[in-house]
């Protein structure tokens, strides 16, 4: 059987890569991709702890379902926002969208 900490380390690596993507990318859609990687890392952790610590209960799975739903909602609203921003500014490079930067 696979040790629990292998999953946790892979999820931590995935989360860190996503964090790097969120902080370093200039394109808004690429930033959202980093967020997706982070959400996936969280979901791996939730399901790993469910499998290893409480496989007979449903709490871990219920949490995971909610994370999936929130991720889907977040992506749909985020991409709609980017399309609206693109329509107004003709770009979604975050450096150039500085309307609220003072």
């Amino acid at each position: 059987m696979i040790p629990l900490n292998w999953y946790l380390i892979v999820a931590a690596a995935l989360f860190s890569i996503g964090l790097y993507g969120v902080l370093s990318r200039k394109n808004a859609v690429a930033i959202l991709m980093g967020v997706e990687l982070m959400l996936n890392a969280v979901n791996i952790n939730l399901l790993t702890f469910w499998r290893y610590r409480a496989p007979t209960t449903t709490a871990g799975m219920a949490f995971s379902v909610i994370v999936f739903a929130v991720a889907a909602a977040e992506v749909s609203v985020g991409l709609a926002l980017f399309i609206a921003v693109y329509r107004r500014f003709k770009t979604i490079v975050t450096d150039e969208i500085d309307l609220m930067k003072w």
């Binding site: 696979i2 290893y52 399309i83």
Partner: protein
């Protein structure tokens, strides 16, 4: 080393490499395709965790819907098909340092805690049925479930409203 562990390690390498390419490749369409590979690797992890339902949901929701939505958004928000210039901000090394420090800290924390290498019990055969019942059970998770439903509806309406073309303004 068992076959499961070998499958796990191969999947981990593929997933992390795909994730790394997702955040580093300058071409956004390629980034979306690498993202699909990384999400497929995560689906394999779910299957290894005996969470078969979530492996299927991962493929349907993430790869089938979210990644394709990303490809649409990339194609709708580019003036030309090629991405010009640098795709990372000037202070990308700060992000790299932060990511490395975060990973090192979390790994140190994981290694400091004694974690089991074996699950406490097998997954019951009725786990998906139990999940379905728990999600609509008033003593279970019906409130989070309904809140998630309302959130999805609000996101649907909000996305349509935000991306709406107003011809008269």
């Amino acid at each position: 080393m068992t076959a499961m562990q070998i499958i796990f390690l191969i999947t981990a390498v593929v997933t992390l490499f795909a994730a790394f390419r997702t955040v580093t490749t300058p071409n956004l369409i390629h980034a979306a395709l690498w993202l699909i590979l990384a999400l497929a690797g995560v689906a394999v992890f779910y299957a290894l965790l005996n969470a078969n339902f979530f492996a299927v949901i991962q493929v349907v929701v993430y790869i089938g819907a979210i990644a394709i939505l990303m490809v649409f958004a990339i194609m709708l928000t580019r003036r030309e098909m090629r991405d010009r210039g640098k795709q990372t901000s000037g202070r990308w090394w700060w992000a790299a340092i932060l990511g490395a420090v975060f990973f090192a800290g979390v790994t140190w924390m994981i290694e400091a805690v004694a974690l089991p290498s074996q699950p406490t019990a097998a997954v019951p055969a009725s786990s998906i049925a139990d999940l379905g019942k728990a999600l609509v059970n008033p003593n279970g998770y019906v409130i989070p479930f309904e809140v998630a439903s309302v959130l999805l509806l609000a996101a649907l309406i909000g996305a349509v409203f935000v991306a709406w073309t107003r011809h008269n303004s």
